[in-house]
Symmetry: C4
Subunit: 221 residues, 4 copies
């Protein structure tokens, strides 16, 4: 059906964004469904259940942050992508497939925190999501140039490095499951923190970029 | 990925709104899932079940109104916010995390209406949501000025007070659980009513603002 | 927070629409969750189950059409509404509350097709949704004039009659439960058909309106 | 309510798209709910469960791709549709009804992979979705011309052929269930692949169209 696209010329990515936002919103809310309301409270009420509820709540927060991280990445990436083609639609769909399976693997890990295969499956899911996000960016910037023509090569490769940071760390998380599962859990928390807070490497690069470019009128963000 | 933002200059908050609206829509509908269709009706049909169904339906309506209150607050606040940065995205994400956990805590309270810890947990959830909404507004107006430059300081602080009204009342609701749980329930209903109907304090302030400003061409809302 | 609205002047209804579309989309899909995948198939496979699955599928289709009817009504109504205020936001929220409870009452009716109270509850839910839709339209057109100033009074009252058609028929459906439940079921199907196909009364009115107005350049829809 | 549409002249399809994107996003995520987190792991952990989990995951991926295929088709089609009327809204609603029932039939097939009726039901669901998509396109292009006046007849019929490809293949899948169920499964995979990758027939036609048209300034997609 790409002839229609051809005939009608340029068009934005509004629906890709709307569809993706929908999937992200549902996934992030489905993670809550993993939290089961206890049918019967023990003597002492909810307070007595807290020790067993807290790890579940914490895992929920970490999974939420990881999905949020992908949303922020997708959001920022599509600020730069101006056009689309069939291949971009499908790369995005497969990225969303990986996002949509996150509640399943998060649930698996929440129920079986000590199972090595569950931890590896969780990491693999994050890797698949990261790789499809990276392929989307490569497709947009390299083969087809679906981004603005003025985007500097330094930005293209900087975004690439930033996207690949999570999958690379997940490989370390997988290796760590053979040594000490606690290290893997620490890496998942580390990934979340690295993407929420601007990391030193990022700031350094940012600084270098700024000094090599002429000042822009863009608002100081 | 904030270099992309930098390169491409200003851009709207469409996707923040779309993502947030998605989460709100799902949360508000998930509250319905708490209503369980009874598998078998007693003799006398549904009518005989009504006394036990009604409190559940009422709790559902109150939770719905509280989520709706946050949506209206978020909607109105983002009418004033014109730009975003990474920090605003994450403050908004954490606000949405608090919203997404509301069906869980609402379900907890619906099942265990007399349990003090459940009531405190429900109030704490509302407080966390309110505090993140307030932090989003502070970040937008103070540190970074992501709002229109012409927004008067009186509006900034008025919105702040209005947002903080709910968390402050929730603190009273928590204290009340130690005295009389009925007072806490009354406070939740009061919060809902305060935000649906323009309250006297609000109207008084509104009136003062109007007389100190020159008349605008904005439609009389 | 209506001072913010005041300060920033006119703004569209994009987020009301986005939020409402989200609720509608979820509700319409939740109706599917009422369809339970049978764990074990009898001898003869799915084919042998068909007689018991078909009524469930049919009820699903009718509920889907009724939700679709409200979406079309909401969609068409908001083509005419140009502005909003706090009251409109809340009238819309309560309309959405009624929409969000439809899967619950549809599930109730699907499980207990012969129970009179379930049928009345289903009709009452439709009435509440219709009445809030009607109140939204009245608020927009009468008290506050949130619609275009040029909208003729004939259009305002025509839309009003069209919205009220469903609640009025639902009252007849409730009365019919005391006489013959089959009549009630017939009325629900009738409502669905009346809103899908342009009804004679509508066309007659349409014709009268056209002859009393000067021809417009609007596309022939 | 089409008088409102008349009075207010032309308007876009934003809400049809938003509503449809919402349904698609939820359906694609609900498919995940079919994946059940195993309560208890056997000795050997998740790894020992893998042989029984893999077919379920694969079926999940195929259903995801088929829903994604319909989204891409709907997305591309509505790039060409510029206006709407009541009939288009309802044709789209019924298309969405077929999309919304896909998790149910996918779940049925996933649980009863060897049941012929389940396979036929799955294929029939795809046929109904395809036929409503096709009716939407016919309605838009033929009876009412809701598309741009300049759209060449060749594009109209090309899109039509592309849409009908899936239902026609599904008929073959149904016939195959009487011969060998494996052929049917192969056809479902084939449909998915045909729509992801530009097929030879499509490229041939694409080439013919290009040579008969004057070059456009549209970006090379």
């Amino acid at each position: 059906m790409n002839i229609v696209e051809k005939t009608h010329g340029t068009h934005g990515n509004e629906r890709i964004n709307a569809f993706s936002d929908g999937v992200f919103a549902i996934v992030i809310t489905l993670l809550v469904l993993e939290l089961k309301v206890p049918e019967h409270l023990p003597e002492g009420g909810l307070l007595a259940l807290l020790p067993s509820l807290l790890p579940s709540l914490l895992g929920h927060v970490i999974s939420f942050v990881l999905v949020g991280m992908f949303w922020v990445g997708h959001h920022n990436m599509f600020l730069g992508i101006k056009r689309h083609d069939r291949a971009l639609l499908w790369l995005n769909n497969f990225f969303l497939l990986a996002i949509a399976t996150m509640p399943f693997f998060a649930g698996l890990l929440a129920h079986h925190t000590t199972d090595q295969a569950s931890m590896i499956a969780y990491a693999l899911n994050l890797i698949v999501a990261g790789v499809f996000l990276w392929m989307t960016w490569r497709h947009a910037t390299q083969k087809r140039r679906l981004v603005s023509a003025e985007m500097p090569a330094a930005v293209v490769s900087h975004v690439e490095r930033r996207i690949l940071m999570a999958p690379v760390l997940c490989i370390f998380a997988i290796i760590s499951t053979f040594i000490n599962p606690s290290i893997s859990q620490f890496i998942f928390v580390l990934i979340a923190l690295l993407y929420i807070f601007p990391n030193p490497l990022d700031l350094l690069h940012h600084h270098k970029m700024k000094s090599s470019q002429s000042p822009t009128s863009a608002p100081q963000q």
